[in-house]
């Protein structure tokens, strides 16, 4: 547990690989970076002491050093990568198509993909990205991110701050770029220093030992981008808080006004018109493609009015409203108001609003109308009196008719497929004829009806589906993304280059290190030494033995 005092007099923390000041390899720690097996020094983190690798006492320390390992971090990334990929083999639960056999995942996967689908479902992969284990995986990456960064940033920062221009000879000759020159004059040395400065190197001179350095800030890039990622993860956690984020959906019918869900009844939306446009198939530009692929939608749009409740009222009672926005909501053009955003997300065309029926004689081939009546499908009356004396009683109304186990019923409250059981009373008769009428259906219960009802006309309207969003976490994501990008650019597009010049006898040793772009640093050195007799550095790299 002793601190290590180097020959140069600098006292290094335990676990140091290369002396912070002079870079001399510290004998007993060479195995840490694998320097004992190679001629070149491993320069990662400048040979500073990563604390995690040195103490391993309590549980806390053990957990800490586990997460501090980049190896663990990479494994976590690889596992997350594989898990994410697995989730795309079959569609996730939320992407089960609407026209599927069944939207029930228990049925859908087996039915569509056979035994593999069933296994996929049973392993919970149909909901992989919100599963607890996937979230834990991402969380572990987050923890690894924090701990790795803390453990590496501090020592690296200290090492780079404490580095001296005067380096130990072994440090220089075990660098990848290195040369030795026998005789160098003072003018030549000045020329080199001058040239280094001209190339915007930061030059430090300590008794003739020179350290030229440039782009050190790029070393902080990784830590900056990790901070960005942590901000993004924090934003993701915030998003799970209801106050910060809400997500809802509203169907609103043309001509109707309805409360916007999740706004505590404070806001209402009215759908003035829903517009679905398709590309003109005679359009010169797209003619061929439309012929090949069929109709292509051009625009989905809801002309909407947003109302705000003036004074809070009791739910259900007629609210007092004020118009606050009138706007066209299109795809890619959501509507924003008071922190909420409405997105055009879906539609249903041609819901019935009203139907007009006519009464005619069953055996009349012309089906001449004896009388007509119109039913408002959202508020049908119990009885309709026709001008010519007929009386029609609505016995049953199925807005969304279907036959289940031989029993007629409605699937929903929406008039998507209206059907009626009518009692038809001919003029001056108390004897009713029973008729069942729906879209494409006209069933005479007894087969002896004298009069028949037919659909003469109907009116349709569209329904627009809108997503309601409130998301206060977006700024956090944006800030995180910006920090991340700055960090990556800082780390990737700049390089930390260092050139050491070490006087030895009448000559010099030159060595250089960079964290990337060796080609670039070599070119720098070429320029710097041109016109002197200093030897060009040799690349001592050993690639894959």
């Amino acid at each position: 547990m002793n601190k290590i005092k180097c020959d140069c007099g600098h006292v290094n923390p335990e676990g140091t690989v290369l002396c912070e000041a002079c870079g001399k390899p510290i004998e007993e720690n060479q195995h840490i970076d694998g320097n004992d097996k190679r001629t070149l020094l491993n320069m990662r983190y400048d040979g500073s002491a990563r604390r995690s690798q040195t103490y391993n006492k309590s549980i806390v320390d053990k957990i800490w050093s586990f997460f501090s390992s980049v190896k663990v971090g990479v494994w976590l990334i690889v596992i997350a990568l594989l898990a994410s990929a697995i989730g795309t083999i079959f569609p996730q639960e939320m992407y089960i198509p609407a026209n599927a056999v069944s939207r029930d995942p228990a049925v859908y996967y087996e039915d569509t993909y056979g035994i593999f689908g069933q296994i996929y479902y049973q392993l919970g992969f149909h909901n992989l990205y919100s599963s607890w284990w996937y979230m834990i995986l991402i969380a572990l990456i987050g923890i690894s991110l924090v701990i790795c960064s803390i453990d590496r940033f501090v020592p690296l920062y200290k090492a780079l701050k404490r580095q001296k221009a005067k380096r130990h000879e072994t440090f220089l000759n075990r660098q990848r770029l290195y040369s030795e020159t026998e005789n160098v004059t003072a003018e030549e040395k000045d020329k080199i220093v001058h040239a280094l400065k001209k190339q915007r190197y930061n030059v430090r001179n300590e008794n003739g030992h020179i350290l030229a350095e440039k782009g050190r800030f790029s070393r902080w890039g990784p830590y900056v981008n990790h901070i960005g990622l942590i901000v993004i993860l924090i934003a993701a956690i915030l998003r799970m808080t209801p106050f910060m984020y809400l997500d809802d959906y509203v169907w609103v019918r043309e001509g109707e006004r309805t409360v916007i869900p999740s706004t505590d009844g404070e806001y209402y939306i009215e759908n003035k018109d829903f517009i679905l446009e398709t590309y003109d198939k005679n359009n010169d530009r797209f003619k061929e493609a439309i012929e090949q692929e069929g109709m292509v939608a051009k625009n989905f749009q809801t002309n909407a009015i947003i109302y705000k409740e003036i004074a809070p009222s009791v739910a259900g009672a007629e609210p007092e409203l004020k118009k606050i926005a009138e706007e066209k909501i299109k795809m890619n053009h959501p509507l924003k108001f008071d922190g909420y955003t409405l997105y055009q997300a879906g539609y249903q065309l041609n819901e019935f609003t009203s139907m007009t029926f006519k009464v005619h004689e069953t055996d009349d081939p012309d089906e001449k109308a004896l009388g007509t009546f119109t039913i408002d499908l959202n508020a049908p009356k119990p009885e309709y009196k026709l001008d010519n004396g007929f009386r029609v009683v609505v016995d049953q109304y199925y807005p969304d008719y279907s036959l289940e186990n031989g029993e007629p019923r409605s699937e929903s409250k929406y008039p998507k497929n209206p059907a009626f059981v009518f009692f038809v009373y001919p003029p001056n008769s108390e004897q009713a004829e029973v008729s069942f009428v729906g879209i494409g259906r006209n069933i005479d219960a007894t087969g002896e009806n004298q009069y028949k009802l037919g659909v003469q006309d109907f009116e349709l309207r569209d329904v627009s589906g809108l997503t309601v969003r409130k998301d206060y976490t977006l700024p956090f994501f944006i800030v995180g993304a910006i920090i991340f990008m700055l960090g990556v650019i800082q780390g990737m597009y700049w390089q930390h280059r260092r050139i050491w010049i070490h006087p030895k006898g009448n000559g010099l040793l030159v060595a250089a290190h960079t964290n990337k772009n060796w080609y670039g640093v070599k070119k720098d050195i070429e320029k710097v030494i041109s016109g002197t007799n200093v030897e060009m550095v040799k690349d001592q790299q050993e690639l894959d033995e």
Partner: protein, 396 residues
């Protein structure tokens, strides 16, 4: 209008030819270096041709943009072509940093393969569906494909490294894997060759098949090896399928895509075998002698540098811009759509690549293998996700 479109196609064709000629000149640089006097002339001609070709492709891009009224990155043909253009652009950038001619000898053929592959998809100008009508279409798609193109250069350099460095004197796991990589490039060539052949022959075979109670027809442009499940051949004088695809394979035109895949692999295989017969050795072993003068450490550096440059661009285009657009168009910035997930997978992969390289010292060959893996993921995302996994991005 028709004029513009024909100018546009001519320009794409011109670019293709120029890249092809430039490749030959890049090839010439290898032999040239023996003769010190002429050094660089072939290289100069090659890069000049590449730049002219690139400009021609830009003209293609702009004229098509004007003709269609939107940036031509909206279907698989346009997108893959743009990706090819991005590859050339990325190559030009890296070329001017490192002046490495041999890179062109590999990067341009890959760009050619990509463009040829793209041309086999429907090339009509298609209208934009509402969700694509946004400026973010250009911003997102161009950045992401540029990022992927730069990352692909990393693969090109890695591939050269592998061919150069792997010991070909004995058969080993490494030589086999290298052949696998090379063979997969042959599959793309096979696809283009076979599609072009049957295109010229104007082959069609219509099938009718049932799916979820509705009757669908599909038009095979290649003779059916694998026909639709319970399908009925409608076209006369067309080949009856040799077998039918399993019943779980549905999804838009899945049987036809599967049939195309079989054809591509078969054609690629034939081409590969022919090449083997011609060289009488492994393809890797045949190319290796050409590369002896290339410095492996420079290749390693180019490979890494391409990732260093491409990773931020990819992150910006593939994750950040993508999220912004998704937030505007689909009300959520992240929805676990397969294409999004594969962008994340790509990102994870290159993040792991960088960490392995920076912190665990994976240089040289290990790094080159990783670059090849990254390219495989990118190609999977570009092609397989669109063709196999259904999702919001499904083109074509």
């Amino acid at each position: 209008m028709d004029n513009l479109i024909s100018v546009s196609s001519t320009m794409l064709y011109t670019a293709f030819i120029l890249y092809l000629i430039a490749t030959c000149f890049f090839g010439a640089t290898i032999k040239e270096k023996k003769d010190k006097g002429k050094k660089g002339i072939a290289g100069k001609i090659a890069i000049t041709l590449t730049i002219i070709g690139f400009l021609a492709q830009i003209v293609y891009f702009i004229t098509r943009w004007i003709a269609s009224g939107h940036a031509p990155v909206s279907n698989l043909f346009e997108f893959m072509t743009f990706f090819g253009m991005g590859l050339v652009f990325a190559f030009i950038i890296i070329y001017f940093i490192y002046r490495l001619s041999v890179l062109g000898l590999f990067a341009l053929p890959i760009a050619l393969i990509v463009i040829a592959y793209a041309s086999m998809f429907p090339t009509e100008i298609s209208p934009l569906v509402p969700s694509l009508q946004s400026h973010w279409l250009y911003i997102h798609v161009t950045t992401v494909s540029l990022g992927e193109a730069i990352l692909s250069i990393s693969f090109v350099a890695g591939l050269i490294y592998l061919i150069r460095q792997i010991d070909q004197s004995v058969k080993s796991k490494r030589t086999t894997w290298l052949e696998v990589i090379l063979f997969s490039l042959f599959i793309f060539i096979g696809f283009s060759v076979i599609s072009a052949t049957f295109n010229i022959a104007d082959y069609h075979a219509q099938f009718e098949y049932e799916e979820r109670g509705s009757t669908l027809t599909t038009d095979y442009q290649l003779p059916a090896i694998a026909g639709p499940n319970d399908g009925k051949l409608l076209t006369e004088n067309a080949m009856e399928p040799l077998f039918e695809v399993p019943s779980w394979m549905h999804g838009a035109n899945a049987p036809r895509k599967f049939n195309t895949l079989i054809w591509s692999i078969l054609a690629g295989f034939v081409l590969y075998v022919l090449a083997r017969l011609l060289f009488r050795k492994r393809i890797g072993a045949a190319i290796q002698p050409l590369l002896l003068k290339v410095k492996p450490d420079l290749l390693d550096e180019v490979s890494y540098r391409a990732v260093a440059i491409g990773f931020p661009v990819f992150t910006l285009g593939g994750l950040i811009f993508a999220s912004i657009w998704a937030q505007i168009a689909w009300d959520r910035f992240w929805g676990w759509d397969p294409k999004e997930v594969w962008a994340l997978v790509t990102w994870f992969f290159y993040a792991a690549f960088l960490h392995l390289r920076l912190s665990r010292g994976w240089h040289g060959e290990k790094s080159a293998w990783l670059a090849a893996g990254g390219f495989a993921i990118i190609m999977f995302n570009l092609i397989a996700v669109n063709l196999i996994l259904a999702g919001l991005h499904s083109y074509a």
